[in-house]
């Protein structure tokens, strides 16, 4: 392939890829616009809120699910993948960005001076999250995580005057840097062993490595430990983003230190993106996605610069292998074509079967992590007196619930892909419902902070007599977080539990059920404080004004609607997971 051909096909590929990347491009343009507008004196008067709002709305329009994606397509020589799953999460993130913009406008944080910075950061992080959701390459995983994290560190330190805030930002940054390092190490291990950074290719290589013939013959056993360690280290990075135990330590401190607005952003957007990435990684390494038919063969060939190193482990194996086995492995040689063609196991079903140990491993690690995350989050929330801290632990616990369908899907993928899809669908649904729950919760916390000048739970006592609608909405949100019908949280949780039942993960199910019972206590304690407890006499008069009240109602009513008619979101979730298995 000559340089010209290479350049030509690269250009063609990029031009083609832009079509699936419009939303992100709009985000980039918006960021640039916000930053540029600050420079001339005239335009610096323009309120960056509107730029943010319009930019994210346009991006949402460009990337929304109303542009149907018939076939998944790999973008930019396979770095990213654009399928319905990407579309769903991108929509979710951009929709959140729109809601978030309005929310910050109402709550008044950030103020006008800080707004361009904050919005640029938020949009930048959102861009990173979109990349996380569509990552198809180990490098993009890292890049996405970092792109999402670095602006978040700055956001955590948004309240410049507050020492606590700055401290939180520092902690977050250092912690993030540590886990990022570990993840990067893990990625390099995996890529080194599997000889590629393209996740589907890595999956195929892994299948080849783990095929029963090799295992029985003891071929490649030495790499298993490396792979396991690499996988674990990647998980550490993801666990950090998900605030899963034991990599959650940053979470309560950051949530307490940062403003409620930033918390809403971190708890919803960041978590949704991390979940999407988790699902992508798990499926990438534990399952072989259906081959992409309409793709130009060219571009895959093009990106297979990794073709050469890919031969190395194989040759090693060949060396290590007793000669008798040789013929079998030599079936490999199929010159080019789709990712599946690399494998000696030409049949996709065989590849999937061969990946069983990888799935077991992932299921095991993730189930374990989910269980302790959930339990820890719920238990630690018990004694909290600060609402933001309480919600921080709540988000930890919720992350545990949301992780659970992934091991279920791993268990089911080999024997029953439809059920595995159902499991991921449960996760996707919950992520959608979670957007409203946590955005609503933090919005209320922010609005109450503006009125009460406090974020202590005891200051909410008897609030129902002053701001009944807000309290009712807050109660609705908390009850939905517990997962009680007829609210969206219940539907999501129910779907998760039923996925666990299908996967026969009884212990996980038991732990999740027990945790739901445990969580009743601290969520309802807040409700009780707001409704039953007498008002403190010293409190200054409280009144919620109309616009925040409306916003709160608008955000919490979908919980009820989705709880009673879950089919709309369910259909989206089904659409989102349709191309994964």
């Amino acid at each position: 392939m000559s340089l010209y051909d290479l350049m030509h096909s690269l250009t063609a590929d990029s031009m083609r890829s832009v079509g699936g990347f419009e939303g992100e491009l709009v985000l980039c343009a918006t960021i640039v616009l916000i930053l540029l507008l600050r420079i001339p004196r005239l335009t610096s008067r323009i309120d960056s809120f509107y730029v943010m709002l319009v930019g994210s709305a346009v991006a949402l329009y460009m990337a929304g699910p109303w542009h149907p994606v018939e076939q998944p397509s790999q973008l930019f020589t396979g770095l990213l993948i654009n399928d319905t799953f990407t579309v769903y999460f991108r929509t979710l993130l951009l929709f959140f960005a729109v809601l978030f913009a309005i929310f910050t406008r109402i709550s008044g944080v950030p103020d006008r001076d800080a707004a361009p910075d904050v919005y640029a950061l938020v949009l930048g992080a959102t861009l990173g999250m979109c990349i996380m959701a569509s990552a198809n390459n180990a490098l993009m995983i890292f890049l996405g995580v970092e792109m999402a994290s670095v602006p978040s560190y700055a956001l955590a330190g948004l309240l410049k005057g507050r020492r606590q805030s700055s401290e939180a930002a520092i902690k977050y940054a250092v912690y993030g840097a540590g886990t990022a390092g570990i993840m990067l190490y893990g990625i390099s291990l995996l890529c080194g062993v599997l000889g590629s950074a393209h996740i589907p290719t890595m999956g195929v290589r892994l299948a080849e490595l783990l095929q029963p013939a090799n295992l029985e013959a003891g071929v490649g056993l030495d790499t298993h430990m490396v792979l396991a360690l690499g996988g674990l280290m990647v998980m550490v990075g993801l666990a950090f983003k998900l605030s899963a135990v034991p990599f959650h330590f940053w979470c309560p401190d950051v949530f307490e230190g940062a403003s409620a607005e930033v918390n809403a952003f971190l708890s919803v957007a960041s978590k949704a993106a991390a979940l999407a990435l988790l699902a992508r990684v798990a499926i990438g390494f534990g399952y072989i996605a259906p081959p992409i038919e309409t793709q130009a063969e060219e571009q895959v060939a093009l990106f297979n610069v990794a073709d050469e190193p890919a031969q190395q482990p194989e040759t090693k194996e060949q060396e290590a292998k007793p000669p008798a086995e040789e013929e079998e492995v030599l079936l490999v040689e199929e010159p080019s074509g789709s990712a599946a063609a690399f494998s000696p196991l030409a049949d996709r079903a065989e590849q999937i079967a061969a990946l069983a140990p990888a799935r077991d491993y992932l299921a095991w690690v993730l189930a374990f992590m989910a269980m302790i995350t959930c339990t820890f989050g719920n238990l630690a929330a018990y004694g909290q007196t600060n609402i933001k801290r309480l919600l921080a632990y709540s988000t930890i616990a919720q992350a545990g619930y949301m992780m659970m369908p992934v091991p279920a899907a791993m268990v089911l993928a080999g024997s029953n892909p439809a059920a595995a899809q159902g499991a991921i669908q449960a996760m996707v649904f919950y992520a959608g419902a979670y957007l409203f729950m946590n955005l609503g919760a933090f919005a209320i916390v922010a609005f109450l902070r503006n009125v009460l000048l406090s974020e202590e739970i005891e200051d909410y006592a008897g609030l129902i007599r002053r701001a009944p609608i807000t309290v009712i909405c807050f109660s609705l949100i908390l009850v939905s977080l517990i997962g009680i019908p007829p609210l969206a949280g219940f539907v999501g949780k129910f779907q998760i539990f039923s996925a666990l039942v299908q996967a026969k993960l009884w212990i996980v199910l038991l732990v999740a059920g027990l945790n739901t019972a445990i969580s009743l206590y601290y969520y309802l304690r807040v409700v009780k404080t707001m409704t039953i407890d007498p008002e403190p006499e010293t409190r200054r008069p409280v009144s919620m004004s109309f616009i925040p009240g409306t916003y709160v109602v608008l955000v919490s009513v979908p919980l009820l609607i989705l709880g009673i008619w879950p089919e709309s979101l369910n259909a989206l979730a089904r659409m989102a997971t349709g191309q994964l298995f």
């Binding site: 520092i170 902690k171 250092v174 912690y175 540590g178 886990t179 570990i182 029963p212 295992l215 029985e216 056993l221 298993h224 430990m225 396991a228 360690l229 674990l232 280290m233 550490v236 034991p246 990599f247 330590f249 940053w250 309560p252 401190d253 079967a353 069983a356 140990p357 799935r359 077991d360 491993y361 299921a363 095991w364 690690v365 374990f368 992590m369 820890f376 238990l379 630690a380 929330a381 018990y382 004694g383 909290q384 268990v411 080999g414 024997s415 026969k504 445990i518």
Partner: protein, 835 residues
């Protein structure tokens, strides 16, 4: 305007407007204006809207759209009538102008062909049937909100809404006491005080609106199931309205009585409904295309009288199949030929006979409901008691509309009734009219006299229908509605003035309240059927003549049943007598109670203007619209169900003959019956004048002379006592025994069980308290401790946190090494359950 598309909308709107008013009053009634006076205006406005819509439908949509049936040429085809007479046709000349002689001759020729041809074979009855909404589908059973509109429906709409509007206006005046706190002088509390309660003005109009909605729904109903629903709705409205003064014992008793007695009738009706559905498989009256395949499914009427059979009543296939169920079960094919042979099998024990019996059962069942609602013997006892309700209610619900619903349903369902059923109807009607009329003679409560009069007139209508006089009966229903509501409202006006119902305390009121007195006189004349024979008369004149003529025609055909006619004629005399007794006692003569007379005054305008309007209507409704042949009778001819204009013979009682209704127009009957009606009416009037007008005879003395008869009548033929002994007492006895059993045996058992349960519960409680709770508390305490410990891990020191990253990774890895060091390969897959 196209009636097929506009009428359902217009009448549907007219039907639903009162419902809207009801809903609004239920929600906001007490807050409408001062003391809820707005509710009155709202309800009145609603019914006025309905009245305008209905009248518009009648005069500007229906009448212009459909031709009137051609004048009839009654031909005495039946031998029972002896020689044929020259037909008496009212507007024969007009007919001749319209149609050529050829046409004329052809009709004659056709009439003489078939026995079933009454001269109307050419005229297709205009009707509009359809459905608005399907409530539910259960197998083949469809419950729908449908409509069946013919000229009877439209006329009923116009009549009901018109009278209801008058009564709403009247009620605004009549009920004004309810606008402020009300002292009920008829209720004495334990402390000797009269009951004080808040006014219920809005509630009264709320019920009235609901009633209007229900009544109109009953009229427009497109299927018998919907009729039943609205039938019960008017029943419940009647219950609410009778019991309006709920604190009065008598009122609440009367309400209960009305309700329970009506349920007895409804029981029969449900049996009828079940037979109809089980055999015909539909509830719909008309042919409605329900499944949308373009061909309408036959309704009840066209199954019973299908066009293929020239609309003659033939036992439908469905009934035959039901009757032959055992044959079909044996494997006999139900081919058309087989069905025909079954149908003809009228021997005792034959299938056709059994099917005919099913028709009788269904018909009598439906009629049972009508007996209850229209207060026919033996269920007539509730209506006089129902006068406990406010007078506007008596005028609207218990004279003009709801009680007439029974007659309306018999009229509506007429095509379904075999001659034997009609005979039952005639006999019941005849007994009712006589019994009620005699009781009315001795009653002294002004409203009770009118109530018995209502019962008696309803009996007339039933009799008319039962002897085959479809249009006569329904015509009387229309005219009666006007003059009886007028009479009730007059009596209400009188009661309003003198604050008593007892006629012995009235007298001479015509000087004090002329409007009331003279409109009442018009009502009395109308109900008596006053008029100049063969020239002109008040509305009652025409309808009563028609009934008597048909009864006479029936008598000529069935000499054995001649007494039906003579009783009816005697009833006419009694009617005139008691009506004028009422008028003389209240309005003429000297005041018998000076005190009450002095305080009496004419009612306010809002009350007497409706009286005048209704009085005018009572005079003219029998006439045709000026300059056209269109009148109620014409419209009724147009509404006459297909195929009933024929001479029908009983199948079981083979001697029974129901003569063609047009035969009653023969001079033989028409002239004679007119004289009968006039003379009996005058005789009654004369007697009344003799007793109460010029007082030649003292009523008390006469009563004394016929002491036993008098007592019998004053005690209302002892019906209440009789029912008390044979129904109420035994029921009370049984229920008290059952209550005893319940109290002693069943309660004792339950108490024992309860004690046992309590002991077990106490044991449970101990276990729960000391064992389960202990465990839970221990668990909770442990959880909390762990939680606090977890919290403690969150030290906030960055150095520690970074340590934790490393530690976490290492710990996880160590854990995973355990997992990995287990024999790796195939055994791993067991987790997934793969082979």
């Amino acid at each position: 305007m196209d009636p097929v598309s506009t009428l359902p909308v217009l009448l549907g709107l007219a039907w639903l407007v009162p419902l809207a008013s009801f809903t609004l009053i239920v929600l906001f009634g007490p807050r409408m204006g001062k003391a809820g006076i707005g509710a009155g205006y709202l309800a009145t406005g609603a019914i006025l809207t309905s009245a305008i819509l209905s009248s518009f439908s009648l005069f500007f949509v229906w009448i212009p759209a459909y031709d009137m049936p051609e004048p009839s040429h009654p031909v005495a085809a039946d031998s029972a009538h002896g020689g044929a007479h020259e037909a008496e046709v009212h507007d024969e000349a007009a007919h001749k102008e319209e149609h050529g002689d050829d046409d004329h001759g052809e009709q004659h020729a056709e009439s003489s062909h078939g026995e079933h041809d009454g001269g109307h074979a050419h005229f297709d009855k205009p009707e509009i049937a359809g459905e608005w909404y399907t409530l539910g589908k259960f197998g083949s059973l469809r419950i729908t909100i449908g409509y069946y509109i013919d000229s009877l429906t439209v006329m009923m709409f116009a009549m009901v809404t018109f009278i209801a509007t008058c009564i709403h206006f009247y009620a605004i005046g009549y009920m004004h006491d309810e606008l402020h706190d009300y002292v009920d002088h008829e209720v004495t509390l334990e402390d000797g005080q009269h009951l004080h309660r808040p006014g219920r003005f809005h509630r009264f109009f709320q019920y009235l609106s609901l009633f209007c909605f229900s009544m109109l729904g009953l009229v427009i109903a497109g299927n018998i199931a919907m009729v039943f629903v609205f039938w019960e709705l008017v029943g419940i409205c009647s219950y609410f309205l009778i019991g309006f003064y709920i604190e009065r014992k008598s009122a609440s008793n009367a309400a209960n009585k009305a309700f329970i007695v009506n349920r007895v009738g409804d029981f029969g009706m449900i049996i009828g409904l079940m037979v109809i559905f089980a055999t015909l498989g539909t509830f719909a009256f008309g042919d409605v295309d329900a499944d949308g395949d373009g061909t309408p499914e036959p309704g009840i009427f066209s199954q019973v009288r299908s066009p293929e059979n020239d609309y003659a009543l033939v036992v439908p296939d469905g009934v035959i199949k039901a009757a032959a169920a055992s044959e079909i079960a044996k494997g006999v094919e139900a081919t058309p030929e087989q069905i025909q042979s079954w149908r003809e099998d009228m021997e005792p024990g034959g299938v056709g006979r059994w099917a005919y019996w099913l028709m009788i059962i269904a018909g009598v069942g439906i009629f049972c409901g009508c007996v209850g609602k229209s207060a026919q013997f033996p269920l007539h006892v509730w209506l006089p008691d129902a006068m406990e309700g406010p007078t506007p209610v008596s005028a609207l619900v218990h004279s003009a509309t709801m009680v007439a619903a029974g007659v309306y349903l018999v009229g509506r369902f007429f095509p379904f009734f075999v001659p034997e059923v009609l005979l039952v109807i005639a006999i019941i009607g005849c007994i009712t009219l006589f019994v009620a009329a005699t009781i009315a003679i001795t009653a002294v409560d002004i409203k009770r006299v009118l109530a018995y009069s209502t019962v008696s007139q309803l009996g007339y209508m039933m009799l008319a229908l039962g002897v085959g006089g479809w249009s006569a009966g329904v015509f009387h229903l229309m005219t009666h509605a006007f003059f009886k509501s007028l009479l009730f409202m007059c009596s209400g006006s009188v009661i309003h003035a003198v604050h008593t119902n007892d006629m012995t305390h009235m007298g001479g009121l015509r000087k004090k309240m002329p409007w009331t007195a003279y409109t009442m006189l018009v009502g009395c004349l109308a109900i008596m059927g006053a008029g100049v024979p063969f020239t002109i008369g008040l509305s009652g004149h025409y309808s009563k003549d028609a009934i008597l003529a048909q009864a006479m025609s029936f008598e000529a055909a069935n000499p054995m049943l001649g007494w039906l006619f003579y009783v009816a004629a005697a009833g006419a005399a009694i009617t005139a007598f008691y009506m004028f007794r009422l008028w003389f006692l209240t309005c003429a003569g000297e005041p018998r109670d000076k005190h009450r007379y002095d305080h009496a005054h004419e009612s306010p305008k809002v009350m007497y203007v409706p009286l005048v309007i209704l009085a005018v209507m009572a005079v003219i409704v029998g006439w045709s619209i000026y300059g056209t042949p269109v009148g109620i009778q014409k419209l009724l001819e147009q509404a006459r169900p297909m195929g009933i204009l024929t001479t029908a013979h009983g199948a079981l009682l083979t001697d029974l003959v129901h003569p063609d209704e047009h035969l009653s127009h023969l001079e033989e009957f028409h002239v004679a019956s007119t004289w009968y009606a006039t003379l009996t009416g005058l005789a009654g009037l004369g007697l009344a004048i003799v007793f109460y007008g010029v007082r030649v005879l003292n009523p008390a003395e006469v009563a004394n002379q016929f002491k036993r008869v008098y007592k019998f009548l004053v005690n209302k033929w002892y019906f209440d006592e009789l029912y008390n002994v044979i129904f109420v007492k035994p029921v009370l006895l049984v229920s008290s025994r059952v209550a005893d059993f319940d109290k002693k045996v069943i309660d004792g058992l339950i108490d024992t069980l309860a004690i046992g349960t309590r002991m077990i519960a106490r044991l449970d409680d101990m276990i729960d308290r000391y064992f389960v709770d202990g465990l839970i508390n221990a668990f909770a305490g442990w959880t909390y401790a762990v939680a606090l410990w977890f919290r403690g891990a969150e030290t906030g020191r960055l150095r520690q946190y970074v340590m934790f990253i490393v530690l976490g990774t290492v710990v996880l890895f160590i854990l995973i090494t355990f997992y990995l060091s287990a024999p790796l390969a195939p055994s791993l897959s067991t987790l997934e359950g793969r082979p």
